[in-house]
Subunit: 340 residues, 2 copies
């Protein structure tokens, strides 16, 4: 049986989930795929921090070199979050020709073309399905759909935290009540401003548009309005009109131009966008041939994200590359990407 | 560039769609996947029949041997429909160790374990994602989800024709009006009894349960009620109770036992099952870890099915095998499967 050795960077909420799934399901995954997946090293900032999993001391390190200098490590998983250090880890691993799995939407949305270029130059694979919509394999579905069809538009509710808050406001809760339950459920970042401002949704939309339309639009260039100004009264008015308010991310192909936007919108109560409550995400894709497809599933929380990371990892075992990004990738020299 | 040669059996509604997609998208698919897909032979009953596509005379044959005796053909696509002849084509191609793509839910639901056994014995791959829910790659999603999670239950609206009729009845149409529009739209088989009786939904449920739970239940052993007895008055009563009637296929894992059923059920108007109109299908999967996921897309019609066949074909290029069917497959010697 083939063994696949993993170097895991980060063991917080998502990392602990990844560690738990891979160790608990090790035999099952080996049985199904014929590959034995071993977590060889876990690199963390603080080895003494309280975690949801108990790591064997001999695999824990605070030194990135323990992973980068080990030629036996096949795949690097980056789940430290943030931007600068994570970018360094991802790009260095790619420069080494390794396969990389990340759930980091900040880095992916911003540097996708450069990172794909590193992939091309050095032969590793970069997978990041976990960065958009947690458990729903939406990027893969888009990639495969596009082999035989065209996407005319896509839209979705892609930020679990804001959808949780809007759902509760629509139920008559106050902002404070909604915020504190979102926080208690682990749906809110320490600094929730990226969620509330729509910046997080814009990152996911940027990644979705890269896959659906082969364009790279920086998240900060997307016309974005958050939910901070939405009041309980706005939701009451929407309900009276048989609508509700959702933070809608949308990409439309219009006369050869891709238009992206993130904004709170009133959507009819019986629409599919209105149907997703709390942390559930939805993405709708309008295809020329097969019509509209809709995908919903949990988009926030530790387990769905960790599960998506593991699915991505398994995907590397049967990886397909698509070439429609050739132009946008070739236009980006990887010089701008800094290695650790 | 690698070339993949196809032998296509059947060029009716679905076959014409497959031929059209593969010839129109040939360059694009080659560009994306690095594989040039060539339809080498099309085997039909009547070469002179009027078709939606014009076949080059030199690739048309009425003799199955033109495909079976050609060692250069890598993949056999079976879209003749029906049971006996289709089973013969699929099983013979598998015995020859070839890869096979089919949309044939009759054959797959009935003979899946035996056919998977032929696959194991002779090394070919059998893919049949198009047999359930047309354009939504639901079987693949279940397979990949199960590598890291468990399915507790699944349910769906999986027959486009009956859903079309029930949607129209709920809108106040008569049975005759609904039936004739369904027929005009190509959503109804020449003999619609398998749709109306629930037998078609039972076949799809059997295939879904094989993937979700690793069991093989013959469609005729599934507790099945059709929609023949549903009246406009039933739908009026349902609407008055803020419900609508859907033909629901359901599989529940209950104390280690898998219980399957197909029956018309009143579902609340604001439920996801109620949200799919006309020929749209939905499948919901309840997973232990990631919660409930929902997938909707067109389930009937020529293009969605043809598109799904092509997606399956492309899937062969990066095929993964799962082993959790080992027991149910090993229990079936392939003797019962007849070759042409």
């Amino acid at each position: 049986m083939k063994t696949l050795k993993i170097g895991l960077f980060g063991c917080g909420t998502v990392g602990s989930g990844v560690y738990a799934i891979l160790t608990e399901q090790r035999e099952r995954i080996a049985g199904e795929t014929g590959v034995d997946i071993e977590i060889a090293r876990v690199c963390v900032r603080d080895p003494l921090k309280q975690r949801a999993v108990v790591l064997p001391p001999e695999i824990v390190t605070t030194d990135a070199a323990a992973i980068f200098d080990d030629p036996e490590i096949d795949v690097v998983i980056e789940v430290i979050g943030g931007e600068r250090d994570a970018l360094g880890i991802i790009s260095r691993a790619l420069v080494q020709g390794r396969n990389v799995v990340t759930a980091n939407k900040d880095v992916i949305a911003k540097y996708l073309p450069q990172l794909r270029r590193l992939e091309e130059l050095h032969g590793g694979h970069l997978v990041y399905g976990a960065s958009v919509c947690g458990s729903v394999p939406i990027l893969k579905i888009i990639d495969e759909t596009l082999l035989t069809d065209r996407v005319g538009a896509l839209r979705g509710v892609v930020n679990g935290s804001t959808n949780f808050i809007l759902t509760r406001l629509a139920d008559g809760w106050t902002w404070d009540e909604a915020l504190s339950l979102a926080e208690a459920n682990g749906f809110l970042e320490a600094d929730p401003s990226a969620d509330l401002s729509g910046a997080d949704a814009a990152r996911k939309l940027s990644i979705l548009a890269f896959h659906a339309f082969g364009v790279h639009v920086l998240p900060e260039d997307i016309d974005t309005t958050g939910i901070e100004a939405i009041t309980a009264e706005d939701l009451e008015r929407a309900t009276a009109a048989r609508c509700t308010i959702k933070l809608v991310a949308e990409a439309i192909l219009d006369d050869g131009e891709v238009r992206l936007s993130v904004a709170p919108r009133a959507v009819p109560l019986d629409s599919s966008l209105a149907s997703v409550r709390d942390e559930v995400n939805i993405v709708e894709i309008d295809c020329d041939g097969i019509g509209t497809q809709r995908f919903t599933g949990k988009g926030a929380g530790s387990y769905p994200t960790a599960n998506a990371v593991v699915s991505d990892l398994l995907d590397i075992l049967a990886r397909r590359r698509y070439r429609r990004w050739a132009a946008v990738i070739a236009a980006n020299e990887p010089g701008g990407v800094e290695c650790v």
